[in-house]
Amino acid sequence: MTTRWFGARVQRVEDDRLLRGHGRFTDDIDEGALESVLVRSPYAHARIRSIDVTAARAVPGVVAVYTAADLPFGQTDLPILIPHPNLTHGRTQRCLASEMVRYVGEAVVFVVAESRSIAEDAADLVQVDYEPLPVVITPEAAARADHLVHDDVPGNVAAELIQEAGEVQAALASSPRRKRLHFRFERGAASPMEGRAVWARWSTAEHKLTVYDSTQSPTSIRGGLAVLFGLPESNVEVIAPDVGGGFGPKIMLFYPDELLVPFAAMQLGRPVKWTEDRQEHFTATNQERGQVHEVEVGFNDQGNLLALDVDFIHDGGAYTPYGIILPIITAAQVPGPYRVPNYRVRFRDVYTNATPTSPYRGAGRPQACFVMERTLDAIAAELGLERAEVRRRNLIQPDEFPYEVGVVWQDGNQVVYDSGDYPALVERALEMLGPRPEGDHIGMGLSPYVEGTGVGPYEGAHVQVLASGKVVAATGIPNQGQGHATVWAQIVADQLGVNVSDVEVSSGDTRRFQWGVGTFASRAAIMAGNAMAVAAGMVAEKAKHIAAEHLEADPADLELAGGRVQVKGSPDRGIPLAAVAVLSNPMRYAFGGGTEAATQFAAKPRPGPPLHEGEQPGLEATGYFSPVGSAWAAGCHAAYVRVDPKTYRLEILKYVVVHDCGRLINPLVVEGQIEGGVAQGIGGAFYERLAYDDEGQLRNASFMEFLMPYATEIPAIEIDHIETPSPLNPLGIKGAGEAGVIPVGAVLASAIEEAIGVPITEMPLSPLKLFELVSRS
């Protein structure tokens, strides 16, 4: 394969329509759809005594009002997406609650009307009689079992898991120095600019359900709907069109609306749509990050880690639809880029009366990184060592790969780091950071990190050369802005010797490719990128074999370049790829650019049928990629900050990132991912806080009070790359989607601690929080 496009800063092919306002997001689709609204619980924990929808049904323009009793699947618990043997007390909600509600925002009634405003007016008339019950909102209260979220779950514990690598108690006992530490992370919210939305149409004539969904996994949605509605999968089409940011919560399925909207469309015989508003997004769409960690570390006078014992509780929210992936990831990622000879981790996933949790960009890793890096900072402080020096003394070295950590990864296999150069990342970050700026109240923070990316099981791709010579490539994995249409076109273009502009990529549309898993865990580039390379490589081989027959050459002597299949070294002896596409189908076309060229190549008589056994018509192929394990990306962030001693305003003076995601497909796209991730990390570390009160009410459920950063809060970020290719996939790539966000909390905590001289053990921070910490000290 040539590497002409791979690695280049190719400008994105998807920009033009988005810039002209011609993007197609789910709420942009209308086609006479009825509109809908969900009536949601205003209580964090309550028994439902009665539901009266009479007045709502009587509103002119209301077409249907559904309660659980009106649904054939109304008494079915929604699925646990990723079961686990240690999830002994998994619980999920029902599509619509009819007996109990366990978080503010839980869906109770579904109203469908001729317009959104009529549906909202009718929703206001729904009468639900609630008997409020005691609420547990913090993970600590949940672990104390102050009250139970589910009557039949003792101690509020959904799952408990203990892992040990080495002999932690013995190693702690023999450590020259020991330290106990406590670290707390609050919940955060992904807050994509587009909330969630679903549009569905039932065609009676074709017996076919079509669903547009702002999901990160249309293939899974399709599979679930087919089973629920008793349809063959071929009669269910699910499309994730343009999606306005995902960042994790859109991988969760099924949200109630994802069942209700298709169900109503089938019942009512008209398209139905539902579009989340921003306020309901704050409580109805999954969150993450709430964890409380107790750490005991043993180390020697040189600062070498000897033993690490971590015991944490994960705030799982009211239900566990996504299983226990988040605490599993934290448990696996605490050791990070360091040698931890003896490591024990225990977690409990506890129920609270809050929105359920599922991955949000980083997914358990920001917490893990914070725990490890804050621990190393504490060791440095105790020993009077430079923080960078403590890290140098514990980093895994480049000659130690593959490196086995001794704990289980999210795919059930052992954590094995495939490749990397962690010391180089740290040294380069320090070099880029440069000398400390002049002035008072300035602090420095530094944090390397690793990230397991590209978990399986697989993704696939279909690549076809058309009779025009243009190439279409499709994969099931959807896109939320990561530039898939460009980077996959680069991979395909290299394999087929065409221009990126000749390749049109389709993604997240089950009509174009029906198999796949989804966009999460920084897996899209590895999984679908390699699948694209496999499929396009198969097409290239097929093209050579067809062309060889007509060029009277050995396929091994042919190459694909400039849109042609040609003899290596004699480019004048060749056939346009378009002509090969025509020749690949024994039934010729009447029109098309390739047809004319193909007529020069008379069919050579050969024995047997025109299509030999094992041959398939069409210049196309379907390929899959399935990895043996995760590819481990890594990086190091460092920063100088200044904290105003009176207002506690944070000023980030310099922020540098060194990043290793293996071979870069498109640096422009990767840098965009990093810059966006760091900004999200800064927001989560210092500005965004979900302010739940004791009653489980989110008191700041709007962008007026939940402070997502604007440009004025985000500094320029300097980025450099090193490339240690992954040996686990043919393209040598590692994921890049989540890296930017992971170490930001650890970096800022370290820098702020130095700037104000007060220990930082929690996230998020804010000017008020710093004022309180300083006042208390």
Partner: protein, 166 residues
């Protein structure tokens, strides 16, 4: 009201927001709705040339005014408007949801400050939220848009390279 140089009659429903009117009555779905309370800026359009939040206005309030949406910046098939072109060159968009609002804000910003300082750039885009880019590429796009919009644009300042690796 004039929308993208075409006269339209106002909506019959007086409580219709301008954003909903543009999207659902006129089919101009390039104007996006991200929060419906005037914070995110996704719904920004130009009213008589100045950026406004179309989710904080009733459509009837735009009667007698000139509204420009993202669809009105460049004709179909015509080259991109300089601000759109700059966002493309500088990778100033990822998912594209906040993008129309940003582009309209920047058109308004450059009308006031054809050569904005770094601070004017930050202030000019600080009414719009983006969750994908971290703003760095948008800042670069504003600077590039100013170059492309000036009578004699400086050359060779593009951030990306259009072609394959040499």
């Amino acid at each position: 009201m004039r929308v993208n140089r075409v006269d339209h009659s106002p909506p019959s429903d007086p409580r219709r927001l301008l954003s909903d009117h543009l999207r659902h009555d006129l089919g101009l779905t390039g104007t996006h709705v991200g929060c419906e309370h005037g914070v995110c800026g996704c719904c920004t359009v130009l009213l008589d040339g100045a950026p406004v939040r179309s989710c904080l206005m009733l459509a009837v309030q735009a009667e007698g005014h000139d509204v420009t949406t993202i669809e009105g910046l460049a004709e179909d098939g015509a080259p991109l408007h300089p601000v759109q072109q700059a966002f493309h060159e500088c990778h100033g968009l990822q998912c594209g949801f906040c993008t129309p609002g940003f582009v309209m804000s920047v058109v308004g910003l450059l009308a006031q400050h054809p050569n904005p300082t770094a601070q004017e750039v930050d202030e000019g885009i600080s009414g719009n939220l983006c969750r994908c880019t971290g703003y760095a590429s948008i800042r670069r796009a504003v600077v590039r848009a100013a170059e492309l919009s000036s009578p004699s644009p400086r050359r060779g300042e593009g951030q990306g390279e259009g072609g394959p690796k040499k």
